[in-house]
Amino acid sequence: MSDVIHNLSMEEKISELEGKIDYLEAKVHALESKNPVLEMQHVEKHFGGVHAIDNFSVKIEQGQIHGLIGPNGAGKTTIFNNITGIYAPDSGKIIFMGEDITGSSPHRVAQLGIGRTFQNIRLFSNLSVLENVVIASGMDATYNLPQAIFHSEKYKKREKMLNDKAMNLLEIVGLQDKANERANSLPYGHQRKLEIARAMALDPKLLLLDEPAAGMNADESLELVDFVRQIRDHFKITILMIEHHMDVVSNLCDYCTVLNFGKTLAVGTPTEVKNNPDVIRAYLGGNE
């Protein structure tokens, strides 16, 4: 992000730096107060008579890659949807970077710094790869309507900044050559990467990955593992991911939470969890 600053005027450089200082202060504060990045407290969600999430609590620390595993229908995606505001929990609290985001709307949650991918990849199919990422950087496009219509200096600078930032991200994930291709013309694995790149355009502090290795074979899954780890290391973010592939979980996750029927079955490192008798009985027996 620092390489695009030299395109702006002095004023804007100053305001950009001020923004960065705020961000760093918050990070330092978070680290100092040892606030977990994400904390869910006794979250409950039911649909009709079904308890999709039952008294779910978790604490995820800065820099962790935390896995959320469990059989289909265990409530994992529902948890994601509660965090990102698609549903509001029936009770309980969700705290992000010290701020209570329970029941906030999805766009607000995204603006606060939580990015996510979806189980069934949700790209802007008919738009180009580049546009997909540019759209996600929309928060940097701080010009208003008249400025957009008359192509004021601010508009031009911001648009260039958006494009540069998006290309940067595409380079990091290795998709820069496909920038002008239509998003749904990419092979599946690349669409996944694009979805992740797009989520990263939000400058998120927390990234939610919903079954990122779904539909991938063993080789692709390995590649994905490296990719996710690189993302975490490069951007210094925290990752919460839903996964079925146990080898992905073992290789990647620092900790994981096992869910069954909306209830937490076990929490711990992948090794601990793999050896937990309850878990073995409920889940790991018939996994692919």
């Binding site: 990102t84 698609i86 709307s105 999805p106 766009h107 995204a110 603006q111 990015g115 996510r116 979806f118 949700r122 790209l123 802007f124 199919s125 008919n126 738009l127 546009e131 540019v134 759209i135 996600a136 929309g138 928060m139 496009a141 010009y143 309507l145 957009a148 219509i149 008359f150 192509h151 508009y155 648009e159 958006l162 239509r182 797009r198 989520a199 355009a201 939000l202």
Partner: protein, 309 residues
């Protein structure tokens, strides 16, 4: 001031040998283009379907007419107020109805359009009722209308090719994903709706200045339906396609004057055939590009963009 504009128009048209009949056709084309551009933003780029934009045209038309005839407003100011009022009403209506699912939203727009028509018919003292509102000065000269149309296109183009247009298309492509990247879908949909209403009001005000007389039936459900089907025929997701669609829909009846009895029948067939065999319309998702046209003519690599919506 109207006289001054009209004099300039007559001078230019005289110089270019454009007779009044053709001038009239051009004005109608411009009016349709502006209304359709608004629909393109709403339906083509945001995928919201409204069956009530004729109601916004009526608001623009009657507002401008009443301000000019009864209160001696300058016609430019009256037009701006008319379009702004239409936009304001859309803003209010959209705030209430945009939370509804697609089919339901569509029908509230339909209801709105009909309500406007019924109310205009009913409050005779205000609007002239079903007999119409006469005596509007003729300010929609060809030159002025063309300037309006070009301006409308310019603004719409800039709008679409900025974050505004991008965010709207992202909502169209995948609303859940759009929200997940920080876009407030509701606010943007409302913006899109308001934009289409402002343009409809603008077109309506121009219409009033052309016909010099407005009747509520000018802005009935048929008009709203015509706006939508023309937008679809022109191609959803393309501004130039919409302009082309507007051109076609206005010009073809003039060209096939002798078949005027069959005009609507042909139109109906055109809609059905296009939807069946070329649902992306004339342009669908692509804007007209001189480069591409030249490439195609040269027999070079043509980039075709046929995809199912």
């Amino acid at each position: 001031m109207i006289e001054a504009f009209n004099n300039i128009n007559n001078a230019v048209c005289g110089f270019l040998h454009i007779n009044p009949y053709i001038q009239g056709v051009v004005v109608l084309v411009c009016i349709n283009v502006i209304a359709i551009l608004g629909m393109a933003v709403l339906t083509g780029f945001t995928r919201l379907f409204s069956f009530g934009n004729a109601g916004f045209m009526a608001i623009g038309a009657y507002c401008a007419a009443i301000l000019i005839v009864r209160h001696n407003f300058n016609f430019l100011i009256a037009m701006v107020i008319g379009a702004a009022l239409a936009g304001f009403v859309a803003f209010l209506l959209g705030s209430l109805t945009l939370k509804l699912k697609g089919d339901y939203f569509l029908i509230t727009c339909l209801g709105f359009g009909e309500c406007v028509r019924v109310l205009l018919n009913y409050f005779k003292k205000f609007s002239g009722g079903s007999a119409g509102f006469p005596g509007i000065p003729s300010y929609s000269s060809m030159l002025f209308s063309v300037i309006c149309a070009i301006l409308a296109f310019f603004i719409a183009w800039r709008f679409i090719h900025s974050k505004y247009g991008r965010n709207l298309t992202s909502i169209r492509e995948n609303e859940v994903a759009a929200e997940a990247v920080g876009i407030n879908a509701f606010r943007y949909k409302r913006l899109s709706f308001t934009f289409s209403a402002v343009y409809a009001g603008w077109a309506g005000a121009l219409y009033a200045g052309y016909m010099m007389y407005v009747v509520p039936t000018n802005f009935a459900l048929n008009k709203s339906i015509e706006l939508i089907t023309t937008t679809v025929i022109g191609g959803l997701g393309s501004l130039t396609g919409s302009v082309l669609g507007a051109l076609l829909v206005t010009l073809l009846p003039e060209v096939f004057r002798s078949l005027s009895n069959y005009r609507m029948l042909i139109y109906g067939f055109a809609v059905v055939l296009i939807i069946m065999f070329r649902p992306n319309g004339l342009y669908g998702y692509k804007e007209f590009s001189l480069k591409r046209l030249i490439n195609r003519l040269k027999g070079g690599k043509a980039k075709t963009g046929k995809e199912a919506a």
